[in-house]
Symmetry: C2
Subunit: 389 residues, 2 copies
C-alpha cells in the first residue's frame, strides 16, 4: 500500500425530499447565493421552483445564472465571477450535474482572485481562497458533488483543462435520487459508464497489495451492474436509483484511491474524442475503455482475471487465465451495449481520419506518456483507437 | 435506503514514517499542544521521542499528560482541562489507541465549557465549541481516530457513558501501520474483533435494500479475515497491518452506516460485561456476538445466509438455509477462536451468577429494549449470556 493522505469534507444530505432543505442549509453559511444551473430541465421538472421556495422561506437572497452547457465554458465562468462581485454573493449554489458543479467551482475560485480564473487551470497560479460551493445534484455521473476537481473549456482555442484543489470541495451536497427520474435514458447510461470508469481507472493499478480498496471498488462496480439495468427498466425505481446515485459519489470522493495510484489513460484518450467530436463523455468512455483493456491486459493478467471473476462473475478457467481475462472485458462491453452505449467509434459517428492527430495531442506530440498502469505512447493510443473502429 | 446525512472531515495521513509529520501538521493549527498518552509503551517503542522531536523541530510547544487507562477516567479528563486552561493549549494531541483519543476528545470539549464536561455525557448540556483534536494512532481497534464519539468512565459510581457529536471529530489523524508491530498479540486480536464488530453491528439491519453498503461491509470484513491471521503470524508484516489499520478506520467513520440503521445490541451487552469484570472490550465481543447471532438469526434468515456465503465462503445449502446461516455463525466463532479470542464466558473467568443483574442493567431494569435488528428484552439478554457460558 502506498502512503497517502485522505480527506473529504463535503456534507452529504441524501434521500427523498432533501432538496427542500437547501434554503436552511444555505442560510447557515450565506445571506446571498448565486443560483447556478444549466438549461430548462430544472424548470420543467419543478426543481427550480422548489429551490426558490426553499431559499425564500429561509430568507436567503439569490441572483441567478443559468445557461451552463456540457463542457462548461470559461466565458460563463467570467460572467458568474462578475455577478458575484457586483452582488456580494457569499456562496455558489449549483443545481444540476457535473458541468454545472464544475462551473460553480470555477466561479467560487474566481471571485476572490484578482487575475483570470483560467490561471488556475493552466497552473499559473494557485487559489488562496474560494467562496463555498453547495450543490443539488440531478445527474449521477461525474462525482463532482464531493470531488476536489473541476474541468473547464476555454473557448479561445477550445482548450479543455481540469484542475484539482481541495479548496473547491463542496461544503454540502443534496442528493435526492427522485431528481434523476426524469433523465433521458441515454444520459443515464452515459452517466453510469462515467461512474464505472471512475471505479475502473482506480482499479487498474500497479500498487500491490491494496486489498481493501480492491474489494471496495469491486463491490461498488457490482452494485452498478445490478442496479443500472433496474433504473433503465423502471425510471422511478427509487431504491435502485439510490444505489446508483450513492455509488456515483463514493466512486469519486477519493476514498477508493487510498493507498493506490490509478491509471486514467482511458479518460485522457476520451477527452481527445469529446474535444474533437461532440460526444457524451460516458459514451466515449464506453468505446475507449474495453479497447484500452484489450491493449494492456497482458501487463497484469492476474488483475484482469480477478476483474472478470469478482466483478462479472466469469467462471475462472484456471488453465487459461487469458481466456478468463478476455471474457471479463467482453462482459464489460456486453453490459455497456446492453444499457445502450456504443461499442465502436463508428457508432459514435467518429471516422478514422483523425486518429493519429488525437493520439499525438493526447501525448503532447509524443512528449509525454499517458496512464500509470501501462505508460502509453502515441502509437499505443492510435492502436487503441483503431481497434475500436 | 433510509435518508441520511454523512460527513467525515478528518484528514488521514497514512503510511510509513508519517509520525514524523506530526510537528508540521500541528504547527498549522496551534502554537501549543497537550501531548496526551497512556503508559510507558510509547516511551519504550521510541514513538514518544519521535513525536517530541517532530514538535520541537516545528517549533510547537507542548505540555504533557500521560496516564490514560483503558476505560478512560473522568478525573484525568478534569486534570487535562485544568492544564489546558492554565497553559493556553490550543490543540489536544492524542498519541495512543481509542482510550487515549476518547480522553483527548473529552478534554477538548471541556476546555471552553464553564460547567463539568460530564454534562455532555449525561446529555445535560451540548458543547458549543471544542479545541481541535489530532491523533497518532497506535492500536487499530476503536476507530476513534476519525469518529465523532467518545466513551468516558466516571469513577463516581463507575458509570461508563458514550457521547456522540461531530464537534469532536479529529482534525487530522496519523496512521502508520509500523506503530502496531510491537502490540501484544492478545490486544491485536481483541482490536480486530472490535473492528469486525463495528462492521457487523452495521451489517445486521432491517433497512432494505442497502446493497452498496452491504457490499462495502462484506469487502471490509473479508479483508479482516484475510489479514488478521497474517499480522499475528508475522507481527512486522507491513502490508497486512496496513490493510487492518485502514479497515479499522473505514469500519467506524460512518460511511458504512449510510442509508441503514445498525443494531448495536452486542456492544450494549458487552459494556455490561466490561463494566462488571475487567475484560478487554474485543474479547467480550468475541463471546457475545456469536451468541447474539444464534439468538436472533431466524429474524432474517436471508441476511444470515448472505453473511455466511459472502463473508465466510460457506457453500450455500439451498435446501437448508438455516444450516447455511448457522455454518456462517460457526465460521465467525471458529475464526475468533483461531486468532486467540475466547468463545465462552468461562474462558473470560466470568461466572454465571450475575447474568440476570447484567441483563437488567442493560435494559435499565426492563424499561427499554436493546438493539434495532431485533429489540431485546432482559430475558433475551439473559438467554444470550447463558448460552455463552
Amino acid at each position: 500500500m502506498e502512503n497517502f493522505t485522505f480527506q473529504n469534507t463535503t456534507r452529504i444530505i441524501f434521500g427523498r425530499g432533501t432538496q427542500k432543505l437547501v434554503g436552511e442549509e444555505c442560510c447557515k453559511h450565506a445571506k446571498k447565493v448565486l443560483l447556478h444551473f444549466g438549461g430548462q430541465s430544472i424548470k420543467k421538472s419543478g426543481l427550480y421552483d422548489e429551490v426558490i421556495e426553499s431559499l425564500n422561506k429561509a430568507g436567503v437572497e439569490y441572483v441567478e445564472l443559468g445557461g451552463v452547457q456540457p463542457n462548461p465554458r470559461l466565458s460563463l465562468v467570467h460572467k458568474g465571477v462578475s455577478i458575484c462581485r457586483a452582488e456580494g454573493v457569499e456562496l455558489i449554489l449549483a443545481v444540476g450535474g457535473g458541468s454545472v458543479i464544475d462551473s460553480a467551482k470555477a466561479i467560487a475560485m474566481g471571485v476572490p482572485y484578482s487575475g483570470d480564473v483560467w490561471d488556475f487551470y493552466t497552473h499559473k497560479a494557485t487559489p488562496a481562497k474560494a467562496l463555498p460551493v453547495a450543490t443539488v445534484l440531478t445527474i449521477p455521473a461525474a462525482g463532482s458533488e464531493s470531488s476536489d476537481s473541476s474541468v473547464i473549456t476555454n473557448e479561445d482555442g477550445w482548450r479543455k483543462h481540469g484542475y484539482t484543489n481541495g479548496i473547491m470541495t463542496p461544503l454540502f451536497s443534496i442528493l435526492n435520487p427522485e431528481l434523476a427520474f426524469t433523465l433521458p435514458k441515454y444520459q443515464v447510461a452515459a452517466g453510469a459508464t462515467d461512474i464505472m470508469s471512475h471505479l475502473m481507472e482506480r482499479y487498474f493499478t500497479n500498487s500491490h497489495p491494496v486489498e481493501l480498496t480492491d474489494g471496495l471498488i469491486e463491490a461498488t462496480l457490482r452494485n452498478m451492474v445490478r442496479n443500472v439495468p433496474k433504473v433503465l427498466a423502471k425510471m422511478d425505481d427509487y431504491d435502485a436509483w439510490a444505489e446508483v446515485m450513492w455509488s456515483g459519489c463514493v466512486a469519486h470522493n477519493n476514498l477508493l484511491d487510498t493507498g493506490r495510484i490509478g491509471d486514467w489513460a482511458s479518460h485522457g484518450i476520451e477527452h481527445e474524442l469529446s474535444a474533437l467530436y461532440d460526444v457524451a463523455h460516458g459514451a466515449g468512455l464506453a468505446v475507449v475503455f474495453p479497447a484500452w483493456m484489450r491493449h494492456v491486459y497482458k501487463h497484469n493478467l492476474g488483475r484482469f482475471v480477478r476483474f472478470a471473476v469478482e466483478v462479472w462473475g466469469v467462471r475462472n478457467d484456471y488453465w487459461n487465465p487469458e481466456a478468463t481475462a478476455l471474457a471479463g472485458i467482453q462482459a464489460l462491453q456486453d453490459f455497456l451495449v446492453s444499457i445502450g452505449m456504443p461499442a465502436t467509434l463508428k457508432q459514435l459517428d467518429i471516422p478514422g481520419d483523425h486518429i493519429d492527430e488525437m493520439a499525438a495531442k493526447a501525448t503532447n506530440h509524443g512528449q509525454w506518456k499517458l496512464g500509470n498502469f501501462v505508460k502509453l505512447g502515441k502509437e499505443d493510443i492510435a492502436a487503441i483507437l483503431r481497434s475500436a473502429q
